[in-house]
Structures are given as C-alpha cells and as structure tokens.
Amino acid sequence: MTEVFYGEWAVAVVSHERAYDQRFTITGSDASDGVYLVSTTGSDPPPVNVFGAQWTLTIEWDSPASGWLESDVRRTPTYTAQDGLVINLGADVSFEGDYDELVLSCRSLDPPLNPRRPVVNPYDFTVNPNTIEKYKRQHQKQRVKK
C-alpha cells in the first residue's frame, strides 16, 4: 500500500526482520526520491529528511519465489511532547498481521504542526507515596461513613 505524506518529514528505520531483504521507495519528493534498501546483512539506510508538497512511500519485501512484492502497511500516528507528530509505518508480509517486519518512523518536521517541540516540562508534581496512601485510607473511611 502506498502511503501519502504532505510536507517535511524525517524517515528512519526503527526495526526490521532479517529473514529477507526489504526496501522502501520514496517518490514525488523535492530531493529524496529513491529506493532505500533494508537488507538482511548490511547496515540500515541512514535517516532521510523528505521534503515536498505531496510525496509517497511504498514498502516492499523480496519474496524468494516472486521477487519484490508490496507489503501491507499499518499507520500508527502518535503525538507526544518529546517527538511531536510521528507516524510509524509497520509493514506486514504473508498476512501475519503483526506489522513488524519493517517499522519506519516518520517524524513531522513542519513547524506549524509541532510549534513547541519538544515540549519541556521542568516540573515534578509528586508526593510521597505514603501521603497518597494516607489520603486514600481517610477518603475510604469517609465514604464508608456516608
């Protein structure tokens, strides 16, 4: 399945199976189009920053019987204080349903989508666990009384 992206993203390999070669192909970008091989033996391709109004990413695996076949891909977006908008692409082959044969991380670099990234929270609002336990016990007693 071809995945469509808009704008600026950093694409990196997170993990992959080593039973067969895999690759991802970027098309339609300003300067990063190409085939990126994730081989069973070699080192992973370095992270690549991809720019472009609209570009696509396709993941394939090298089937011993049929050659390069398109993988089924699941998108898992997250938005966190540390990384902002990230869309993980998990590739599945042979309909196993685990989507972990190749995992790519696509992190948005568009400032409007990530205006404060990383959000740094310097504060620690914790209290001693015993204090909380004490509160819970008292609270429980009050509820029972009611």
């Binding site: 908008l85 001693n128 204090t131």
Partner: protein, 804 residues
Amino acid sequence: MACIEVSGKPWTRKHDNPAVPLFASVPVTAFPNSLECLIELCASHAPADRLKAAGSHWALSEAAISDRTFVETHDPTNTTQAMGRTLDEVVPGCLDAAFYEALKRRRPAPYDREHKDENTGLYPVHFETGKRVFQLYSELDLLGDTSDPFKGEDLPVATLARQLAGDGNPSYLGPWAIPTLGGAGGQTVFGALTTGTHGGDIHMGPIADAVMAMHLVTDGGRHYWIEPSTLTSLGAPLTDDNALVALYGQDRFRGNQPRGVDNFEVVRDDTAFNALLVGAGRFGIAYSVVIGTVRQYTLPEERRLTNWEYVKSMVNDPTSSLYTKRFLQIAVCPTPHANFTKHLAGVTKRWNVPLAPKAGSASVPAGRDERRGPVVNRFDPLIQAPRFALAGNSHPYSPDPAHPGAALPPSFLEQACMNANFLVGVLQEVAKEVEDFISSNGAVIGGTIAGVVAAGGGAALLALLPVLEILLLVLLAFIAALAAAAPSNPRLGQTMNDLKDSLLNRPDPAQRAAGLFIWQLIVFKLFSSQQDDHDYEAISYAVMDGHDYLDQSCDVNGDSIEVFFDATDPMLIAFVDALLVFELGQETVGKAMGGYISLRFTGPTRALIGMQQHPHTCAVEVAGLKDVTGTQELIDFAVTLALDPNFNAVLHWGQRNPSNQAQVEHRFGDTVTSPTGNLHAWRSALSQLTDNGRLDGFSSAFTRHAGLEVVEPLAGSLTMAGGSPSSQPILVSWDCRDNPPATTVALDVTAPSGAHHGFASLPLAGQRWVATTGTGTYQAQLTAAIDFNGEQRTATTSATLTVS
C-alpha cells in the same frame, strides 16, 4: 408585499464580544415575514446588491455574513417579526395521496410508561425557517399534552394529526419530537441543519437527515419545492406536484414572471436535495422546510468521570464498550493532572427508555415543566407561534439524584454564570487544601491535590512549599477581590484570565511552578464538578438541549471549532493528543485554554458536503473563552492541524471555518484534474439552480474563499452564418451568459488556409464579423474560462461553416 429594510444597523453574532459588534453598521438589513416578501426581495435586488440569510446568529462561521444585504429570518434582538410560522398548507394540504394513506395505516406507539422504541413513527412538520429549535420541540411536545389547558390541538402543527384522527386514526394525537438535537436549541432549525449541526447519536446522521423537503427562493425570485427523487420510507413521495403548483403557482408568488406558475418549480432530485441540505446559504434563502419527526421519547443520561488516557484506546474501535448506547460524548480537560500524565474525561451515554414521570405524577414527563413550561401566549406575533414560559428561557434541566423525576434549582455553576463570582467557592476550597498542604509540611493532601499529583519522590513539591505560601496569598487576595466585586463585574472569561495571569505569568521559575500547581488544582476542581458521575432521565429535549439560556457571563466572547474525523482513523487520537501537548507547553509559559475539548459521535449524513462523511464520524469540538489568553492560540493550532492534509479533517460549516477552496476540494473532491466527488455534485446542483452561476446574488466572501461556487464554465451556443457569396464576411455569434459574471470568453476562427483570427476578452454574448479569405471550411472555437482562487477551468465548443 415588501420586506422591512433598514440601513446602518450593527450586525454581530451571539458568541462575539458583546462590547464590540462584528460590524458596527451594515448597508441593509432585511426582515422577511412571508414568502411573497422573500420572493420580492430576491427578485428586485440590484445585481451588485448581494444577499445572505442568517438565523438567530448562533453560528461562529462567516457563512451568514453578506456582501451587502443581511436577511434576518429571526431577528436576534427579538424586536421584529420572525419568519416563524408552522404551516399547514402543504402538510397535510398537499400531501401525496399514497403517502397519506400509508400514514393512516400506521399506528405509532404512544409516549407512555410502556413503550421505549427509538424513532417510532413518522410525523412530517412544515415550518418557516426562522423558527428556533426550542420553539419547534416545544410545539411538537404540546400535541396531546393533557396537562396544558391549551393542548395545542388547534395549532397548525396538529392539523395533520387531527385530519388523521378524523379519518379513523387518532394515534398521531400525541407528542412528537425531533429525532436528534445538538447540545443547544437557540439556533433556528434551518440554520442548525444547513450548517451540518449534529448531536451525539452514534447511529444517526445530523439534524439535516431528518429533512423531507425544502422550499427555496433563489436569486431572481424564482422559487423551488425540493424533495429527493428517492421515495420516503413510506414508499411514496411526500407531496403531490399538482397540489404544490396550485398552491405556490398563484400569481401573488410570480416575482418577475408574468404568472405565478412561471415562477415556481417542483424539483425531485436527490443531488439537488442533498446539496441544498448543507448549502452554506449559497443557493438562496430557504423559506420553509419539512422535517420528519418521531414519537416523543425519554432519554436517561449516564456520565462517568474517568481520564482520556484510559478511554482513548477504545475510541477507534466501534465495537468497544464505549459504543454500547445510542449517544456518546467524551469531554476532555485540556489541563493535565496526575503529575502531567493524565487528563480528566467525562464519558456521557444516553439511550431510550419508557416515559419517566416527574415526581408526584404518573404521566407528565420529567423535564417538561422545567424546560418547556406552559403556554403563556397562545399567539405571539413576534414569533408567529405560541410562546412557552421556559422554552429558550431557562437553565438546563438539573435532576435531583435524591428524588428521581424532580429537578434541583439551578446549579451552583448555572447560577454563578449570571456573574463571575461562582469561582469564589471553588477557589476557596482549593485555597483550603493548599493551606493544609503547606501547614502540614506536605503530609496532608485533599482530594484535589490527590488528583493533581502522583506518587513519587516528592522532593520538588516539598521544595516549593515556601513559594506556594506566597502564591496562596495571591490566591486569597484574588478571592477577596472577586467576592467583593459588584454583580456587574467582568465576564467569566476576563476573571479566568486575571486568575491565570496572577498564577502563571510570574517571572520567578519557582513561583511559576507553584502557580501552575495551583492552576491545575483549580481546573481539576472545576472540571470534576462539571463532569462528575451522574445518572438521570427526562424528556428528550430536557436531556439533549443543555444550553443555559439565562447565562450572561459564561457563554459570551467565545470561539470554537469542530473538527470531523472518521472515528476509526488513528489520526483522530493524534489530533486530540496534539492539543493536549500544546496546552501543556503553553501552560508553562503563562497561557492556558479557558475551555474544553469534546468528542461526539454520529452516523453518516446524506448531505453532499456535510461533515459526517463516514459510517462512524467523530466530531471534536474545541471551544473556549477568548478573554483567556491561550484559548485563541489552542484553537488556532487546532485549525492548523485540521486543515493540514496529513490530518485531512473536515471543519464544521457553522463554527470557525477558514477552509480555502483547495482544502475543501481536497476533502470533498472536484479538483481541476479530477472533477468528481461530492463537491462536484454539489456544484452541479448549484449550477442547475443558478443558471450555472449567472445568478450570483448569494455569493459571499465566505463561499468564494471556500470555493462553494460554480467553477466550471459552460461554453454556451456558437453559430456561424454568412460567407455567401464567398466574398462576404462570416458572422460568428455566441451566448455564454449562463456563467458567472467574471467568466472570460475567447474566440478563435480558423480559415481553410490555416490562418487564425483570434478574439480575446469578449463579452459573454455577442457577434463578430470575420472576413473570408477564400472558399472551404471555416472553423470557430469558443472558449469560456473561469479563473477562480488560482485554478482555471475551461469549456470549449466549436462550429463550422463551409464557404463555396
């Protein structure tokens, strides 16, 4: 019959800053009060005098803003007569015979303590478009209400039921209801439905999907009765063509035509109907609408306070336990708790049950007395309908958990919204907890602190104790000032902003930390009190219409957007999480959201550009008080995310919606390279009803920006004549008038020799003589082009003439 028109009136919306009208003075404000007047208004306006209709000014979008003439179907100041009648000329007067017979055969179950089915029966109701939601649900509920001496039996809304009873079927003589509602009833019904307004009923579309027919007056004064071509659920069309023409083809409705029948048309077309449902006012002014109502019903409401981090994993799964009932809403607190790891969330569900009577009665439903009340004026000329004591004039229904069926007086919050002092109680409780925490050296915590903190080392918070003491004094001083303020003190938003600034805008990092801690306590307390567990049941509208009509402070100078996703799309969760991260970031630099995030779920709509385009659609509302710095920033960020193609969300047409043409086309189709999709069908319907955009009187800055216009030109007619004998010139004639006025026309004539004669910047219709240069075939090609928002679309036609 001319409409009342005035010049120089201010124009503003309900949620704008009450101190500063959006427009201090607008050129013309028109107040139509009849179909004749509406037709005359649309027939007689000058070409440059564009018009736009508004309802009760509840929308926050710019869809109701006119280029020049503002047409008020319901004067928001309630001083000029509204177009608010319920009509009985069509229902039952023009009903299709087979439809009526099918109605007569049905026996809708009564509204009583035995029956609980969802959406029982069908009762069509026809009314003018200036009628407000609370007025309609009150009139429908009056039917057969034996507790009211009026009973509503001689109201136009009851005419069909009476006729059916006279024909041997009295089962329609009971209360009826709108199948679904948004969270408030102050909008006009048509204003709400034509912007896609919805409830949270997960299997139902928005209010628009209850519409059965619309009566539209277009630019030029022509008027159309528009129904779907698909038959109603009764297997017959709603109305009879001949009866409609006999009624609306009368000469008093002739507009600019010689006869009334020349000025009226019945359109039975799914595309036109589905386009007009959510039409952004671009098609014209809807004079009236028929909606299918259902038997009155009772809804229980169950609300549980939990946290977003717990429920969010279930949101994308429509088979999860969240989706077990008819209605689902998840209200999320933007401010974190539990040491920044969680966010409070109130999960509300509703479903259908038999009539739940009020305390001390066997048959009067709970909520009716508090939310509708008795008829106080059988015919109020201002609204052209009966006036109810409490419809649009009451606090939300507040059930008394100790006495089922009984209502509590207005809640602390509701009473307090009359002014900003309600905060005092909450702040005092928070101050007391902070005081105890400090005096016990961090060893004693109350419920609010227990919610905001998490178990951990605790050293950082203990180190803050001296600074907390300073901030506590600040808080106490604020409370004292607030308590001493006169009743005319500032709006709630202004008070919240002052409080936020005194806590978060502090140069010293330690004081900022302590201020943030107290701010989180206050928000935790406020949100918990508003979204705490509750269970009650009441009549449909008392549960669904939660608006506080007596509020003077909480609901002004607000801003909101609503963002629609496929509920199964994981980008929905990322969107909400992004807002929460943004809020976390801005609260550490002195800003905060004075509002909430709310998710509601609906079924799909038939409206072509309605926002509910998925089997399960989730609407994320982000709303707050603009007085609080940080609210606007969060909503702006939400807009940025929603319009980004990676999120590809759809914005509500009735709330802030800055979508441009490219963004609308990305979501609804009809791009230059792919002229297909729902927007293409919508524009085709607009073309059909406006002579392909020639009649552009209802175009506005909003519709032009969003591309809700005719963008595809028609090449029109092209003929060639003359050239005989061959020495004579050829006369080329064309007519492209059925196009938007800004359409450009070019002509190219090719001689048999291959020589070209080109003519650019031609008028939309005209003639040109072209000299002949010999015998043979001459070819003319006419190109009409529309350049709009950076996109160009063209249409060509050609003609040939052989000169011998």
